[in-house]
Symmetry: C2
Subunit: 240 residues, 2 copies
């Protein structure tokens, strides 16, 4: 594809294995062409009946974007402070399961809390924010995500391919009414995800997950087949 790739191309399997949530960004802006390429690859994802109901509402440095960032920043900070307090999520007494994505188990808990705090404290200066929206053609239902979250994942993978990183969060939901009014989002449109994007600051560990035999069954719920084993050499990616 005729898009900017600052490094050697990342192989597809390697990209799938190494795309993790990125919450610390450099100040470097995302050029128009790169952002267009990231979003174009997001649109390649499948959707039910190929209806293509996903829309991407991008916030950068326009006047409305700055207002939206202020709303989101306050919301993210309030959400994180509440979670941190409610879950005892402090450096010396951290628990899992307290934040909305997958670096939780990827770093020592104190560092994780610091990363979260940094993330919410810098939301106003994240290079780009993309609200991934679903133009509904019927009422809300638990399976509608089949037509929107594959695109969100493609977006994150495309960002990774081009040297960027992102975080998919749902913390926009606390200010959703204000966001809708500010950005003129129609009632039938769902704000399905809020993705932050930028050039990663610092280095990042591997994605950590449960071993395959815990999550793959064959023929009957709970029956893990003997072949459901992690590929050789990936033991370091085990979660917990």
């Amino acid at each position: 594809m005729p898009v900017t790739q600052p490094h050697a191309p990342v192989p597809l399997l390697e990209g799938l294995a190494t795309t993790r949530t990125i919450r610390r960004y450099t100040d470097e802006p995302i050029p128009d062409d790169d952002l267009a390429a990231i979003l174009w690859h997001a649109t390649r994802a499948p959707s039910g009946s190929n209806r293509q109901p996903v829309r991407y509402l991008v916030l950068r440095d326009g006047a409305a974007a700055l207002q939206a960032r202020a709303l989101l920043g306050n919301s993210f900070r309030t959400s994180w402070a509440a979670k941190r307090a409610a879950d005892g999520y402090v450096p010396d007494a951290a628990t899992d399961d307290t934040v909305a994505d997958d670096t939780v188990a990827d770093t020592p808990k104190a560092r994780m809390a610091a990363t979260m705090q940094h993330f919410v404290d810098h939301l106003e200066s994240v290079p780009a924010i993309v609200l991934v929206c679903l133009q509904r053609y019927r009422g809300p239902n638990p399976y509608e995500g089949a037509s929107v979250y594959p695109a969100a994942q493609n977006l994150l993978l495309a960002a990774r391919a081009m040297g960027y990183g992102g975080a998919l969060t749902m913390w926009h939901q606390m200010v959703e009414p204000q966001l809708r009014e500010l950005l003129a989002v129609p009632d039938e449109v769902a704000l399905s995800a809020c993705i932050t994007l930028g050039r990663p600051a610092g280095s990042h560990g591997p994605v950590r997950r449960r071993p395959l035999h815990d999550v793959v069954f064959q023929d009957r719920w709970g029956d893990s087949p003997t072949w459901a084993v992690d590929p050789p050499g990936t033991e370091h990616t085990h979660w917990k």
Copy 2:
């Protein structure tokens, strides 16, 4: 990653751009190691709080799998026949929007109808079927898909990387009660998607989508920025 790759590695961006729904498969089975690698890469997707609520219930050639395939085959054929009739979906009077994924607009409509018919007629012999399941920790909601469909997309992309292809469908829903009983699926688990997998038979056209300026907005719903243009050389992928 130490997995089978029959061809040169597919670059990540190219993989995102060229992974399309595949509904015709050769008879070639999917070896255990390949299936494990595909599923392992699916598990690398993010989930809310890194809860990792996705489970993969695989149907191949076991006794329960054969019963499940019979249920699914009948369901898919009934669903397709009804849609085909209701929507006038015959070679000379086809309409869009009649099937549950993205080859609809990718082929001449007569060929598409033939592909759908072939797909539902051969469900019993698809090399593998994966029910992608969500272990819920709260009631069903429209945003729960954020923790399951990114994994489904990773699964399809990993299959592509390894020379396989698949189709994500929701046509299992018509026989869901019977499937749940047969496969002992607990009540709190959602059957979020049914993915068929196999080695693609024949060649396949490009993924076709709306142009970027139709789906990308900046600062305000409906306002497409000047930079939201498809990458040069991709005009042939425009939908309609």
